[in-house]
Amino acid sequence: MKISLRLKMTMVLLVAFACDPAASNASSLVLKNAFIEYVKNRVTIDVKFNVDHAAAGPHRISSGGNDGDLHMAGRAESIGLPLVVEIVNAGEPSQNSILNDTEQANGGKSVDVSGAWRVWFEHPGGDQIQGEDVPVPSDTNPDHVFEIHPVTQFAGNSAVQSYVPIPGYHAYDAETAFSKYEKITATIQSTDTSTTIDSPKAGYNYAEFVMQLAADPTPSDDGGLLVLGDVVKDDEEMLVPNPRRMVFAPNTPPAKQVAGLHKGDKMHVLGIPRVNLERISAMTAEHPGEEFEAQLPYEMIIVAVYQDGAAASPRVRARSPVNGRSARPKP
């Protein structure tokens, strides 16, 4: 055994002694069952959003969290949870008017916001119970598990043109991202009126992958599209054992492209994960009142579709060639 390993072992002992062995980083989210039923087959949600803090500008663009998004933190009565709203491709000229609106709304103004709802344990912190008093956030990225991300409409201005590849952004490759998503185990319990999801911290926001439609698209409750798709690599290999639900926000470029596709067609896309509340609802129906452990069900919000050979990330192309098979709507 090398010395460095012995050193590491000693450090682990120290850390294990000092820290919580029951493992934390886990966070509980309590959602109202009626809320779950309302959003589970919707891609987006409309809220009256109090903009407590808006970032001065979009994030830099490189990889990981430097994704070019614009962050805003605030509160929405109908959500009742710490809330962060994110606009993708915020630095693009098409989003200039929205950037002006965010500046004007910053500091507590209330605006109408629509966009993909997103439950994901990326920035968890303590137990978050829907409907309990939400403290005024102190910055643009407070502890939160609920987001509206990406936005489709902000203060009356459409943001659907932001649903395009992020120029110069290196998304996670499909193998890395999906292997992480598949390994998240959550503890779930429902009562008559609420559902609790206790999950470890999750990350890997943006994943670039090729999806193969396992069924034709079906409409969501809000006019978007829901598609069951396999995540494939090199045209043949399936990266996850079963199809996952892919969701397309209404009137966005990805939704328009997938509308013409059919079972078996492929699409090269950029997506972000969110908890699949439709599956959560089905699972709690199978285990009423019981606490149970399960793989955290997730689905992908499709943010962008890459055109032939137009992968944004050279890293992803190098690892997982997609052969330029992007969406081609059938005539």
């Binding site: 682990v12 109202k32 009626a34 409907g131 193998e175 292997s179 008559d192 206790d198 054992p241």
Partner: protein, 458 residues
């Protein structure tokens, strides 16, 4: 009287063991992750199940030659360095047989020489891999990494050979590990997973045996796929599993999952045996590092009712820990968020939960070195009074005396703690729960209403 001092001391000790065993589990898991023990044991089990050489053997067997005729034809016509190398390891007679081979001829006479030649390549530690496999990326680095390690060298040669002849040399287990469903379970590319769900195992196996079949498969497809496999234990096992079924694909899948689960019970046993020594060593390190001396802890608990009560209360909080917070809402049919009418457990229990989670901090000064360090300073002073003044000499002599004193004081206690901690957290969790139940089934005289009544009436 169940609620006795002895019972409380036992509960306190169990609580200490539980905390230390949790630490031991954390370290053990980390070591198993670093050494990939779990993944290796699983691989050994899976390769045994799927009839392929276990790790470390790296040998091509006759049954691994999926298409020997194709390999022979490649060796006849190839002009590259690899072909030349393999041909040169054949005897003149075998080389003549190889050159005389024509498509459709019986391959059996050439199987032995072929397998021998391939295994000679695998075992060649001086293999000029960069010359033989020029198209492999990072080949120079790979060769450098295996220098001086025969096992690594064999593993690399075995892999390179299989990559060079992917359609000719194969084994069922290699196909299994390279299946996307299984590869997707690995944390990093090139690593094997440390856990394979039974369902994924069954799906991968079924997909491999029916790889020539496009679209959904049914029971006859699966059966035919298995029959097409080369004769091997895995073929016999799969055929045996599918005997006397209702000819449904779901039943076949369930049988394969059951086969996997049965085997994994055995693999779990291997893993436990493999990690037992590590567990004991880690438990000993933890016992010494935290100075957790069973005898000392028992004495302190016995002599201090306050400490005893405090620890029992903490154990109770741990025992009654509600793992999940839940809520109820007054208007369940309204989708908009509203203030919950109740939150369970209530907020004060949340604090208890946080406390209970931060277990090591709760052991207070029951464990630790602060008192024994004072003894070290006493030895230092005693050494100085004997006329030793050089700081290093003082430290060394005092340290030696201190170590001897520590062993005398704590050796038996540390040994007992080590044995207890190595039993594992689940054991102490269950035992603690049983003792807590036992404690709550009896009532102390102060809590006994009849006892109180007696006091009043008398």
């Amino acid at each position: 009287m169940f609620n006795s001092t002895i019972l409380d001391v036992a509960i306190g000790l169990m609580f200490v063991y539980l905390v230390l065993a949790l630490m031991c589990t954390t370290v053990n898991e980390w070591i198993a992750g670093c050494l990939k023990t779990r993944a290796r044991t699983l691989e050994e089990g899976l390769r045994g199940l799927l009839n392929a050489p276990p790790d470390g053997v790296y040998t091509v067997r006759e049954e691994d030659l999926k298409d020997p005729a194709s390999l022979i034809l490649k060796l006849q016509t190839g002009k590259d360095e690899l072909t030349t190398y393999i041909r040169n390891t054949l005897t003149i007679g075998d080389k003549a047989k190889l050159d005389a081979f024509r498509s459709g001829d019986d391959v059996q006479p050439l199987m032995g020489p072929l397998v021998g030649a391939l295994n000679r390549l695998i075992g060649d530690q001086e293999l000029q891999a960069a010359k033989l496999f020029p198209n492999v990326s990072n080949i120079a680095q790979q060769v450098e990494n295996t220098k001086g390690n025969s096992q690594k060298s064999k593993a690399m040669n075995y892999r390179l050979l299989k990559e060079a002849y992917p359609n000719e040399i194969s084994s069922f287990s290699d196909g299994f590990y390279s299946h996307p469903l299984i590869k997707g379970l690995s944390s990093k590319a090139g690593r094997h997973p440390s856990y394979v769900p039974a369902r994924t195992f069954a799906l991968a196996v079924m997909d491999i045996v029916t790889k020539d079949k496009q679209g959904p498969i049914n029971f006859p497809d699966l059966l035919q796929g298995i029959r097409n496999l080369p004769d091997s234990d895995v073929k016999k096992s799969l055929l045996a599993l599918l005997q006397n079924t209702d000819q449904k694909i779901e039943t076949a899948q369930a049988r394969i999952e059951g086969w996997f689960n049965d085997s994994m019970d055995r693999v779990s046993g291997w893993f436990k045996r493999k990690t037992q020594v590590v567990t004991i060593i880690v438990a000993l390190i933890i016992a010494v590092f935290t100075n957790a001396d069973t005898l000392h802890i028992s004495n302190r608990l016995w002599s201090s009712p306050t400490l005893r009560t405090e620890l029992v209360d903490k154990a109770k909080a741990r025992d009654q820990l509600k793992p999940l917070i839940t809520a109820e809402y007054p208007h369940p049919n309204d989708s908009a968020a509203e203030k919950p009418s109740s939150v369970n457990p209530p907020n004060e229990d949340q604090e208890n939960r946080k406390l209970a989670r931060n277990l090591p901090a709760q052991l207070g000064d029951l464990i630790g070195w602060s008192q024994d360090f004072q003894k070290f300073h006493q030895f230092e002073q005693a050494t100085r009074t004997k006329g030793v003044n050089h700081p290093f000499a003082v430290f060394s002599y005092a340290f030696l005396l201190w170590v001897v004193w520590l062993l005398g004081q704590h050796f038996v206690g540390w040994a007992l703690t080590t044995i207890a901690v190595s039993l594992g957290a689940p054991f102490w969790f269950d035992t603690l729960n049983r003792f807590m139940n036992l404690r709550s089934s009896g009532k102390s005289p102060d809590e006994d209403p009849k006892g109180a009544e007696k006091k009043i009436t008398s």
